[in-house]
């Protein structure tokens, strides 16, 4: 047990090292010599500025009065600082045509089950693919992760038809969205969680089995606690993916404004009111705020998940 725990901790440490950097010298510090420190730093600063100024500009604009946004650039703020919360008031509580708060709620209502459901199903399936032993297991597993090659676009129309024919959305309005997100998340989720699970030492499970523990006990008492960091990183990914998604939201809300997510509402707003910058800036910032909070508070897991997905396999 302890061995496995240390291992998980160690990979977390890897992740934080990837974000921060340990004390040792590495290939890059030598490579930096290429450009000389001054020029190198200058280039890095230019990139960093290019990568942050657009978001900052949007944020500052969202706080400026409507007439100012439309007439002058956000940098005018520095010579003539006028700020207001009016745009946010209009976007969060104004008339129905500009009110985005219901879409914000929609996004939350879509996101939470659409994160929980694929996670639970994928953890269970990963257990079946890594701990349980059965004939044809590896073949089915390969089939499942090969499904990653099916682009969303290939499944949209028939899936939509299935939901319409079965009336899946008639009682639980959001059900088609939850299920669609779950289905599209499963191949990658099962693949990643399986990889983490197969790193847990077999002896640990064997010992528990010999002591008479059933699979449910092994699953709940041994696997889940050990898997927590992996589960956390996948949960973050899934949440951000669903929150930021437009395609699934547009398709499976059937154009119904009652269940459309925030992204779809914003996309419509850019089309209909392309010049209403006071609404767009505030609206966009509201849609960004949740991912930013998730990202900054759970950055460690986020990076770990990224590395697990594309470097470690």
């Amino acid at each position: 047990m302890t061995a496995a725990v240390t291992e998980t901790d160690a990979s977390l440490a890897d992740a934080s090292k990837a974000m921060g950097g340990g004390p040792r010298r590495s290939a890059a510090s030598t490579a930096r010599g290429l450009l000389g420190n001054r020029i190198g730093s200058a280039i890095a600063i230019v990139i960093a500025v290019l990568w942050t100024v657009p978001t900052f500009g949007l944020f500052l604009s969202s706080l400026r009065p409507e007439s100012d946004i439309k007439r002058t650039g956000w940098w005018t703020f520095f010579s003539n600082p006028v700020l207001t919360l009016e745009n946010y008031e209009q976007v969060l509580g104004g008339s129905t045509s500009t009110n985005l708060s219901q879409y914000f709620m929609n996004s939350l209502v879509i996101c939470i089950p659409a994160t929980l459901l694929p996670l639970a199903l994928a953890i269970m399936a990963a257990y079946a693919f890594s701990v349980l032993e059965w004939r044809g297991r590896d073949l089915v597993f390969v089939a499942v992760f090969t499904l990653q090659i099916v682009p969303l676009q290939m499944a949209l129309i028939p899936l939509l038809r299935i939901f319409n024919d079965t009336g899946a959305g008639s009682v639980l309005l959001f059900l088609p969205l939850w299920l669609a997100h779950t289905i599209f998340a499963l191949p990658l989720a099962i693949f990643l969680l399986h990889n983490f699970m197969s790193e847990v030492p077999r002896d640990l499970i064997e010992a528990a089995r010999i002591d008479g523990a059933g699979h449910v006990t092994v699953f709940l008492r041994i696997m889940l606690p050990l898997m927590l960091p992996a589960i956390a990183s996948f949960a973050i990914f899934q949440f951000l993916w669903v929150w930021n998604d437009l395609l699934v939201g547009l398709t499976f809300s059937g154009g119904s404004r009652i269940i459309q997510p925030l992204t779809a509402a914003l996309a419509a707003l850019t089309g209909d009111r392309g010049q209403d910058w006071h609404l767009l800036t505030a609206g966009a910032f509201i849609s960004i705020i949740i991912p930013l909070i998730v990202f900054f508070s759970l950055q460690r897991y986020f990076v770990r998940g990224l590395l697990a997905g594309s470097v470690k396999g």
Partner: protein
Amino acid sequence: MGFLLNTRVGQLVLAVILFCAIVAVLLLIAKGADSLRERARRPAVVAVFAGPALLLLAAGLIYPFIRTLWMSFMDNRSENYVGFANYVTALTEPSNLVGFRNTFLWVILTPLLSTTIGLVYAVLIDKSRLEKVAKALLFLPMAISFVGAGIIWKFVYDYKGAGQDQIGVINALLTWVGLEPVRFLQDSWMNTIFLILVLVWIEAGFAMVILSASIKAVPEDIIEAARLDGASAWQLFWSITIPSIRPSLVVVLTTISIATLKIFDITRTMTGAKFDTQVLANLMYDESFVFGNNGLGSAMAVFIFVLVVPLVMFNIRQMAKNREVRG
């Protein structure tokens, strides 16, 4: 009961209750299955643990996949077989060809630019005092939706007639140094490049994080040895760092290419696919859900699939290989 069915929060609460109930029931069944006799036990336990996910995948991914393939050979309403007519239309209609041309540009430029910028940045900030903060800055756009990023950049690219005050940063700078303002999003074909830069802005952070981790994993003794042999910094970079991180470089390039092939949000938010900025994924959406042309829409989806397959296969193989090396 009305609260649960008729309000958003109610639906959410109901969903969470249902979710807990489903998990509890599954685990109970698993417990029951686990106490069965030896012969029946194993398949029963496997069925409970893997069954729900496999069923959903079969109904929601495998069946739709086959059906889309079939629909791509049928007419608009999927009633008559039309052979390859949809594929011919997709590849001959001038408006569709623009979509293919642009998608090609996207897939070539986005991975190259974001990986280069990510790599340069990762190298430059490595071991610097502010590394953590510097990384978060570049990484931040990754948390933003394509729609959000689209709005952010639409604002940056904003254009006003020559006499007026510019509210977009770039045009303000251009007029400030005495140049004419540019219609970034309206003038083809450069507008596609400006849209691509938005995706580069999002993906560079991803490339940077992966490459930075892999740069830090290059063994010190190799570098030390090369340095003792008198290798210059430039030589070290090209003959040690780059070959050592090549597996990660490849994965980053292919992963970004795959994401790029499916992108439609940026085009949709920023230009509405007007002004010759059409892309494949947006063609698929428009044909299927705006014009109700299921046959052509399905054919577009198949094109995306065919383009993605080699990349994903390559990626999966590469990931498996990286695992072996590390394992």
